[in-house]
Symmetry: C2
Subunit: 315 residues, 2 copies
């Protein structure tokens, strides 16, 4: 059996070859070799392009290294009957850390206080005391890998946590107060002090937050998003923060990316923009390798793989 892999350290490659001696792990040196090797492979980690899929007639499994899979050729993958697995839950911890960093930065007024520090001025924000998260309501929109980890962290702060999730048959974790179907979003938005948008970007979630959703939020509420740009409509959030229809927005993802350097979002006092940095973590690579290692074993034994993407839901 042949599996195409990206560059892996000798230590990682050694673990794979020791554990799976009957598998050849092929690492292409360049794009040409990707297509040359393609006809031989049954599986690939990465390299998920229409060209590769077309050239790989024996391909039965694609593992990708991202959790968001909006850019992959779903129709072709479905047509070919290929099993498609993603990096769900590999990035959850650090994305949730980033969500909480954005929430706490607003709550403790760090953007204002950083500017005061730059001016060597010992001054807090007059007539605008910081908040306190205990007792405030967090609405987690999308209780997947990132949403669950965000809720778990927020619970330690004594927040009340409501969440929406499509898969209502899954159990409600004990750190979430209530789980609701996505259709209840509009009824939930007016109750939230904080909204953490943790959805994947799919054809169903694009522009999920527009003018109407912002108009339903409290004027004192903040929204944060670290999963994908395009779920929050850029023009709508720019308008909402500019007119102070909401208190502010913390965005690690924008549409487009990079955010153009003349975009007004950069300059608002009530906006934090970070450059799609929430996924960075020294632990992401090791976690991703362990997932791939486990899935290779399952693939070899024809067992069900972990993190199979629903090709209709696109996550």
């Amino acid at each position: 059996m042949n599996i195409m892999i990206p560059y892996l350290s000798d230590e990682k490659l050694g673990r794979l070859t020791a554990e799976y001696p009957n598998v050849n792990f092929l690492h292409p040196e360049d794009n040409n070799e990707v297509l040359t090797l393609a006809p031989k492979i049954e599986a690939t980690y990465g390299f998920c392009t229409p060209e590769l899929i077309d050239a790989a007639s024996n391909l039965r499994w694609i593992q990708v290294g991202s959790a968001g899979v909006e850019r992959y050729p779903f129709d072709l993958i479905r047509e070919r009957g290929i099993t498609f697995t993603n990096a769900k839950e590999i990035y959850g911890p650090q994305l949730a850390d980033h969500n909480m960093a954005l929430i706490l930065a607003f709550s403790r007024q760090l953007p204002f206080l950083f500017k005061a520090q730059q001016a060597n001025v010992w001054e807090s924000r007059k007539n605008f005391p910081p908040g306190e998260l205990e007792g405030e309501t967090l609405l987690v929109v999308g209780l997947g890998g990132t949403g669950l980890e965000t809720a778990r962290r927020a619970r330690g702060f004594g927040m009340r946590i409501k969440a929406t999730r499509r898969k209502l048959d899954l159990p409600c974790p004990d750190f979430v107060d209530s789980v609701h179907p996505p259709g209840e979003l509009h009824a939930l938005l007016p109750e939230a002090d904080w909204v953490a948008v943790c959805l994947p970007l799919t054809k169903h979630t694009r522009d999920a937050f527009g003018n109407e959703e912002f108009s339903l939020m409290k004027k004192t509420a903040y929204i944060v998003c670290v999963t994908r740009g395009g779920i929050i409509n850029t023009d709508a959030v720019t308008r909402a923060v500019g007119r102070k229809e909401i208190a502010g927005a913390g965005l690690d993802v924008t549409d487009p990316e990079p955010l153009p350097d003349d975009h007004p979002l950069w300059g608002y006092d009530n906006v934090i923009v970070t450059p799609h940095a929430s996924g960075h973590s020294p632990n992401a690579g090791p976690r991703m390798f362990e997932l791939f290692f486990e899935n290779v074993g399952r693939f070899v034994k024809s067992e069900a793989l972990i993190n199979v993407v629903d090709l209709d839901l696109q996550y």
Copy 2:
């Protein structure tokens, strides 16, 4: 019975007088009136000066509105046999929020990213990826009101939590991995990725962190403190961050305060200074009133008060 009180809203005063009809709540208009009323009072909320204590021969209870009580006249209070209660646990939630805001700001590199935002630049920090709190070790120095709340929050991030505390007879909370006597600090420091100094400032804790303690920390570790300046020696922390003996420091409290505007701590990339803002919260006033309300009831019935300060330990 007469109790001297600061200005309270009509609603709060109404609750007190309705619940305790046999108590006169006296609010002095100015400093002169504080001393004029003093001989009549059995208790006071605030106004804790040597002059008031000397003039109040019937004084049996002093409630103060701060958790840190290092500035009060302990010898005089002890000599007079007065019960002294503080605001322990009133500020714990927001101080713990601030601790986590500082920790996450460093972990997610917000000081760097805020500067990038100010320059409209979509760029994360090269060769210095953000961290992830899961699995990292937090050392909580002082497991009181702030320390406990900090540990509770940190646990939601999957951190390993060690703590020091003088009162080892208290149970170890389930969100703390191990509790150690203060004398083990030097043995614990080398294991910590994060050190949250949550001690009160007392004669025992002044300069608890000096050159030796910083030399025992990992070069990659950060220290944060939101309780009182003077526990961390200012010269020592300035030296440690300047020489990069530690990764950085997040300080909401300094010695002196305000931090002088020409102090080098303002300018270091690996330092966050906030202006003693961690206690700010819209919930602090209401919580403090409920504590006072409860303690008045206990005082009237000669029951044990909440938050009695140990005059030897000074907290």
